[in-house]
């Protein structure tokens, strides 16, 4: 049975209070599974604290193929077992997805702000919509598990929209499905829609097509995916009214903790934010502004 399946949603979401509690520990691979073109990697990390949804870690196998560690969203956590959804795009991610059980890995985290669950769930709460593109689905299993253990868990209305390149990449959506099933098992309403660009599942469409068809006033959106998708989601969401959007960004990182100032990202007002320290989660307004659509 795959590791992401059939587990109770046992994660205690720490809220945003995990600053000051990050660690750097030497862990090892507890499991690694291919999910189509993505991989589900689980690290046993002794003493690793509870991560919040949208928080990330730095991973570096020992011995490393790359000089710097790489950043990954925490996709799931069961105590000291932390899981990641990884897309093998370069040497760092390829080394990680080729690791075998017991291979040693340094892990630093949890890092960054993550999605602010209090704000996401603050009344008047209508519906949480999770929008993910490709490996951008990574933070959602943990986010769904946190919703399941939240006070309002059983009363929630949750919609998950995932876009993938093709059916092989879409296999990477399985841990999200599993977490959604756990949430629904607790009584919440939770639905998943999947779009593939090449139409290998359903007709060919983008995740923004799903969003345009589904979005309603008052939806709270948690978004993670490639930059172009994020911008398109923002454009789409602005056509409905009263939506709130939080985006989880990526940037090349070196330190992950605010030391190097390398992960700067331009905000709407022309200022620079550090993705690792000020993010990775930002509001749509701060990133893309409230000005007119071009």
């Amino acid at each position: 049975m795959p590791r992401y399946e059939n587990r109770e949603s046992g994660h205690e979401c720490p809220g945003r209070g995990s600053r000051g509690k990050a660690v750097r520990v030497f862990g090892w691979v507890a499991g690694s599974e291919r999910l189509g073109s993505l991989s589900w990697l689980t690290i046993h990390a002794p003493g690793f604290p509870a991560a919040g949804p949208g928080q990330f870690v730095l991973l570096q196998p020992e011995p490393p193929a790359c000089f710097l560690p790489r950043a990954f969203s925490v996709a799931g956590q069961r105590g000291e077992e932390i899981s990641f959804l990884i897309s093998p795009v370069g040497p760092g991610t390829k080394q990680l997805t080729n690791l075998r059980e017991h291979d040693p890995v340094w892990i630093t985290g949890p890092l960054g702000n993550g999605f602010d669950m209090d704000t996401l769930l603050a009344p008047p709460m209508r519906r949480a919509v999770l929008v993910g593109g490709g490996v951008g689905a990574a933070p959602f299993p943990l986010l769904l598990d946190c919703l399941a253990t939240s006070a309002s868990g059983p009363d929630l209305d949750v919609l998950v929209l995932l876009g993938f390149r093709n059916s092989s990449q879409a296999e990477g959506g399985q841990p999200v499905r599993a977490a959604a099933a756990r949430l629904a098992a607790g009584g919440a309403s939770c639905r998943i829609e999947i779009a593939t660009e090449d139409g290998s599942i359903g007709k060919a469409r983008l995740v923004t097509d799903l969003l345009a068809a589904e979005q309603r006033q008052g939806d709270r959106l948690a978004v993670c995916g490639p930059q172009a998708m994020c911008e398109a989601v923002w454009q789409t969401a602005r056509e409905a009214s009263g939506l709130s959007c939080w985006f989880s960004l990526e940037a090349n990182m070196a330190c992950g903790v605010g030391s190097c100032h390398g992960c700067a990202s331009l905000r709407a007002d022309g200022s620079l934010a550090l993705v690792c320290r000020d993010g990775p989660v930002f509001t749509g307004e701060s990133l893309y502004g409230v000005g007119e659509q071009e």
């Binding site: 730095l58 070196a254 903790v257 605010g258 030391s259 190097c260 100032h261 700067a264």
Partner: protein, 328 residues
């Protein structure tokens, strides 16, 4: 959290004196690569109570606040990384009012790095810091705080790099700052020159108490998709293990030329690397990019140095500059 054994890395064998400063061990961080207050935010306050560094060096301070260059600003390269941060930070006033008081509570010495866009700016920065320290750091602050002139940043479009490549300019800046700054004065050099030793000699001649080398090597990366420069700033500075052989050569040449102590850096990620720099003539070594992987690396390297020296039956003093002497 794994933490280097304090007993080892403050072992008396490793104590070094850098002018008026006393370091528990010779492994410090390189400017711009370790923000200890950020580390405290992320990992907890312990790092402030027992900092892993022999002395702490914050990011280069500029006179005015600066955002730095447009992203992207960093990329990994073979055995290294390139950066084009371009000196971002809140500027002198914010530093003096914000970080400085907290940094003064650290148990290790502090080395403040400053970068100007003209000789005058260096003088203003030094004077501003001196005033703040005289007011807020108590008597004897010169025994706890040093100043490093970053005349070597490759990522800003005017000012410091040009100064750093010309012995005459160096002399001007160093001697002007020398008049304003009563404490330890370090000059940090760029390796992007034909003859780094003569620049070091100019700095020492003008009153620098120590030489720090090397800053990053000027390089660039091409974006694979667009075939245009990848970095927002077009060029950037290369650091990491890739440059270690080049940095060692620079330290070797500087040590042969000047009498003042040398702070060596460039690609250090292990106690063995640190030994290499000591052997070439560094009195103190600094860890830069490799610390991004492990914020406690400086402490671990200090422990490793202690072990390695005792295994070899050598003292720190024996090792510094040993590569210049014939084998016994």
């Amino acid at each position: 959290m794994t933490f280097p054994m304090q007993s080892q890395h403050s072992s008396p064998d490793l104590i070094v004196h850098l002018g008026p400063l006393t370091l528990a061990h010779p492994v410090i961080n390189a400017s711009g690569t370790m923000e200890i207050l950020e580390l405290a935010d992320v990992f907890g306050e312990d790092v402030l109570k027992s900092p892993p560094v022999g002395a702490y060096v914050p990011k280069t301070i500029t006179l005015k606040p600066r955002q730095g260059n447009l992203p992207p600003r960093i990329l990994e390269t073979p055995a290294g990384m390139i950066n084009a941060i371009g000196l971002s930070g809140g500027g002198l006033e914010a530093f003096v009012g914000g970080s400085l008081p907290r940094l003064l509570t650290l148990s290790c010495p502090l080395i403040l790095s400053i970068g100007g866009f003209s000789p005058r700016e260096y003088v203003e920065l030094a004077a501003g810091l001196r005033q703040a320290l005289q007011a807020g750091a108590g008597d004897g602050w010169t025994q706890r705080v040093g100043l490093e002139l970053n005349v070597s940043c490759p990522n800003v479009h005017s000012g410091c790099l040009l100064i750093g490549a010309d012995p005459g300019e160096i002399e001007g800046v160093v001697s002007a700052v020398r008049r304003e700054w009563p404490g330890l004065l370090i000059t940090k050099l760029t390796p992007n020159v034909t003859d780094i030793a003569s620049i070091a000699a100019a700095a020492a001649g003008a009153g620098a108490d120590a030489i720090s080398a090397v800053n990053t090597f000027k390089g660039m990366v091409i974006d694979r998709r667009s075939l245009r420069p990848f970095l927002g700033n077009v060029t950037g500075g290369l650091s990491g293990p890739a440059i270690k052989p080049l940095a060692l050569r620079a330290i070797f040449e500087i040590f042969a030329r000047v009498e003042v102590p040398v702070i060596g850096m460039g690609g250090i990620r292990s106690a063995e690397d640190a030994l290499d720099f000591l052997a070439c003539g560094a009195t103190v070594v600094a860890v830069g990019s490799a610390g991004f992987t492990d914020p406690w690396l400086t402490g671990r390297i200090a422990s490793g140095l202690a072990t390695s020296l005792s295994e070899r039956g050598l003292t720190l003093r024996d090792v510094v500059g040993i590569a210049h002497r014939r084998e016994a």
